[in-house]
Symmetry: C2
Subunit: 148 residues, 2 copies
Amino acid sequence: MDNYEAGFDSFLKNFKEHVSRLGFKNSIQKDYILKILYLSKEHLSAEQIAHSVKSDYNIEVGIATVYRTVKFFEEMNIINSLDVGDGVKRYELNLSLHHDHMVCTNCHKIIEFTDELIEEQQIKVAQSHNFELKDHVMTIYGLCEDCY
Amino acid sequence: MDNYEAGFDSFLKNFKEHVSRLGFKNSIQKDYILKILYLSKEHLSAEQIAHSVKSDYNIEVGIATVYRTVKFFEEMNIINSLDVGDGVKRYELNLSLHHDHMVCTNCHKIIEFTDELIEEQQIKVAQSHNFELKDHVMTIYGLCEDCY
DNA sequence: TTTTATGCAAACATTTTGCAGTCAC
DNA sequence: GTGACTGCAAAATGTTTGCATAAAA
């Protein structure tokens, strides 16, 4: 087991305690959905999550459970959902610092980036409109270098 | 007729000529869908567009036609679609300068804004990743001053 | 035991498509 | 007249819900 996977184990342990403390119940399904999201660090749709849990760990998870679980995780504030514009929601863990996305309109690759200046400026813009910023999404559409 | 509506007439005339030149055909439906989007300057769903065309001009437009027409307009590059996160796409004319949105997570109000610094910085970020920027969407979520 | 979670299937909402008829050019 | 457009209804897609069963605490 490498460090990264070890990192997941302690993350999972903490999270499960948190779930218990709030009076919810843990389950294998939650564990593996979380693990897929943690290890893939990708932006996965509900369908992709269900498929990965099955193919990587041979655990069947109903699609309804995936939807209920990602909704639960969103309420727990540990994942974000992302809409690339194709009508399918994708989910990712929000462990890391906030980041934004560039989506290639040709190959649909997703590139993550962070930019301090943009982050700061967003805060200023929100303030100037008396708007209490809670979250934001910024997506740049275009062609990646491979598709250029 | 006020200036703004007069502005629409010349815009519509130009657009219809453009459509003809490209070998597509004009129709009352296209005209009125465009008019609703132009005059409302709002972010309307397909359903809302169909409803407005009917209530404002007493013209029936099938929902399928609305979807086909907004797709056509998107390909003509005169409208943008916007996803507020509720699974319903909304559309707006992109005549004006690019602008971004703040969405109130409580009352769902949409506030438009522009920020030069953010616009410029996006271009720089794209360049630094060898990404050819074509468009972008930035949405800030939070509470507006009324809901604060 | 009690309560929450799961899986299935049915329901739902939005969007897309096939087709026959209509309209623009 | 030809080809694109429309409206309808059916289909497809993505997501949610009801209910009986299973599992967690």
